[in-house]
């Protein structure tokens, strides 16, 4: 492998990592606050991707503009997810929580299959083939845009979670549900907002992603699994951990893709997870006790 290809892979990996981080942060936010892993996370991304695609193909809206439309829709869907599934999931054992969100994920996949067929769809603007030369490597314009917007949003989310009262309340609920309730915090409201924001981030990621990658009904499952790996790498419920995890997965995948083949690259996130189990399980287990 030549140095140029390697460099190209690194740059591509970094660009992917920003989007991955955006996707994983939503998952980790919901888990951090509610202690429930949402196996249907990727399906909401899939919905956002379709929304971005149809905004472009039917209404001619640029995906970047579509973000402003899709994000509120996804936030509403998140709130609906809370009141229809997550609220009840709080009362049942862990296995049932997994089962419920897995069921939802299957349902959304197959509804999408009925509604949109299994065809691959992609936003193909003139911009899609444009590239920017950065020394020896070429970066797609769309990748740069996606990366940039993701980083801005991640920064904004970080500020909200660390510096505002809303973030403080959310962290309080994450640490102790009962303690927060006793201090007069409306825990239910916080849960609803956490899920709305966690799913809402996908409203940004979806339109960006659909100008880089085909959308089909099964694309979500792939991203759910990737998000799991990222989130576990960084420690479940940890915001900065998810960023680090996304970097690792994005780079490893991209380098493996350049070195071997696409099929091997698909298995890379799982190999990383298994390696983590083998070598640094404490990084994985520390947070599992309590974030």
């Amino acid at each position: 492998m030549s140095f140029e290809i390697f460099l190209q892979a690194i740059v591509g990996g970094l660009a992917n990592a920003a989007l991955y981080a955006l996707i994983a942060v939503g998952l980790t936010l919901v888990f951090g606050v509610m202690r429930i892993i949402n196996f249907a996370h990727g399906e909401f991304l899939m919905i956002a991707m379709y929304a971005g695609y149809f905004a472009w193909s039917l209404l001619g809206i640029d995906p970047i503009v579509a973000i402003a439309l899709v994000t509120p829709v996804l936030m509403v869907l998140g709130a609906l997810l809370y009141s229809s599934v997550m609220r009840f999931a709080l009362r049942v054992p862990e296995i049932n929580q997994m089962a419920a969100t897995l069921g939802l994920s299957l349902l959304l996949q197959h509804l999408a299959l009925v509604a949109f067929t299994g065809d691959n769809m992609l936003v193909t603007q003139a911009r899609a083939i444009a590239g920017v030369e950065l020394g020896p490597v070429v970066v797609q314009v769309n990748q740069l845009i996606a990366c940039g917007i993701s980083i801005v949003l991640l920064g904004a989310l970080y500020v909200v979670l660390q510096r505002t009262d809303f973030g403080l309340i959310m962290r309080a609920v994450a640490q102790s549900r009962d303690g927060a309730a006793l201090s007069g915090i409306d825990v239910t409201g916080v849960y609803k907002w956490a899920v709305a924001v966690g799913i809402g981030t996908l409203g940004v990621a979806g339109p960006l992603l659909v100008s880089l990658l085909y959308v089909n009904p099964h694309v979500g499952a792939l991203f759910t699994l990737k998000a799991f790996v990222i989130v576990i790498l960084g420690g479940l419920g940890s915001f900065t951990g998810a960023l680090v995890g996304a970097l690792v997965v994005g780079l490893a995948e991209s380098i493996a893709g350049a070195w071997f083949s696409a099929s091997i690259a698909a298995a890379v996130p799982f190999v990383i997870l298994i390696l983590i189990l083998l070598t640094r399980p404490e990084g994985l287990m520390n947070r599992s006790v309590r974030a």
Binding site: A100, L106, L277, M285
Partner: protein, 330 residues
């Protein structure tokens, strides 16, 4: 036979169902698949429902069994006498390796589920990229025109039904014997409170590992049967996450706290979904029904159909006993 009451009842019901469907190839096929998924769900639930270890990578073991048979027959012409033990042995070894890794670090709940999912997916992608195993196209096994009993090749479906019935009844019998022994008590204790169980002398790692190996072995046996019955294996049908999720669906719907609960789930859902798949105008409607049932029942009826009936029955029995005691006292 009081020690094997459940197994006896299951055997009786299966024989009646077998007699009812014999003579009709379509219904016999549904019967066979019901037994197949039923066995898988029961052995999956030995881990999930009875020991508290939820695996989302069980398709891996089914796949090992199925591919052992398909590869052994197509490439070497090996008989099932070789390939079945080979598949089961490999699956048990794989479970031992994965289990040692996971249990060494005390992975539980979500972590164990996602770790097993990862192993399953690695296997899925690896097989999908392996030339010798037919990549994602799968392997078509050679079939001859006439029956070869030594290769488990029959034109009629009833011999297959007898085989899978035997596996199912055997699984229930083994499970029943274990649940009444030390192992079963230890499994339930581990499911509920691992720390307390260990303080009472339970070697948590060893018993979880044994449970995992047993469950994997039975899954591989089912996989081997599948390969011989269908004569075609591909990654999606025997290694995909969907198969692992199916085991979860049947268990949740049937009832996870009971050994035979998942069997009820499979008996209700498998025929229903096959009929829906074959006769519904909308493709994939069987999966939609699965998905809705899974999500709703998991939240609304956490103990499953069978679990709900058993709980009701027990409550009634207790109430009757209490009223009898009250009469005696008064």
């Amino acid at each position: 036979m009081s020690n094997f009451r459940t197994a006896t009842i299951v055997a009786g019901v299966l024989l009646v169902a077998f007699a009812a469907v014999s003579g009709d190839r379509y219904f016999m096929d549904i019967f066979i698949f019901t037994c197949f998924y039923g066995t898988l769900a029961v052995c999956w639930n030995m881990m999930a429902g009875l020991t508290g270890l939820m695996s989302l990578g069980h398709a891996l073991f089914v796949g090992i069994g199925a591919y052992s048979v398909a590869w052994g027959l197509s490439v070497h012409g090996w008989s099932p006498l070789v390939t079945w033990p080979l598949g089961v042995g490999l699956a048990v070894a794989a479970a031992a390796a994965i289990g040692m890794l996971c249990f060494r670090y005390g992975l539980r709940g979500y972590f164990f589920a996602i770790a097993t999912l990862a192993f399953g997916e690695v296997a899925f992608f690896t097989v999908s990229a392996t030339e010798a195993l037919g990549r994602s196209d799968g392997m078509i096994m050679p079939i001859s025109a006439e029956d070869i009993p030594g290769q488990l090749q029959f034109f009629e479906k009833w011999p297959y039904a007898l085989i899978i019935m035997t596996i199912l009844i055997g699984t229930i019998a083994i499970g029943e014997a274990l649940m009444k022994s030390r192992t079963g008590y230890y499994w339930r204790a581990l499911r509920d409170n691992e720390q307390a169980a260990e303080a009472l002398g339970v070697n948590a790692r060893a018993f979880k590992l044994r449970c995992f190996m047993l469950s994997a072995g039975i899954s591989a046996l089912c996989g081997a049967f599948y390969a011989n019955y269908v004569a075609f294996v591909d990654p999606r049908s025997v290694l995909g996450v969907e198969l692992s999720i199916q085991m979860l669906v049947y268990s949740i719907v049937g009832g996870m706290s009971l050994l035979w609960g998942p069997l009820i789930g499979a008996a209700v859902l498998v025929p229903f979904s096959i009929l829906l798949r074959d006769y519904s105008a909308i493709p994939g409607s069987d999966i939609v029904v699965y998905a809705v049932l899974l999500a709703v029942l998991a939240l609304v009826l956490p103990q499953g159909i069978a679990g709900w009936f058993v709980a009701r029955w027990q409550r009634r029995r207790l109430a009757r006993r209490a009223s009898r005691t009250a009469e005696v006292v008064s």
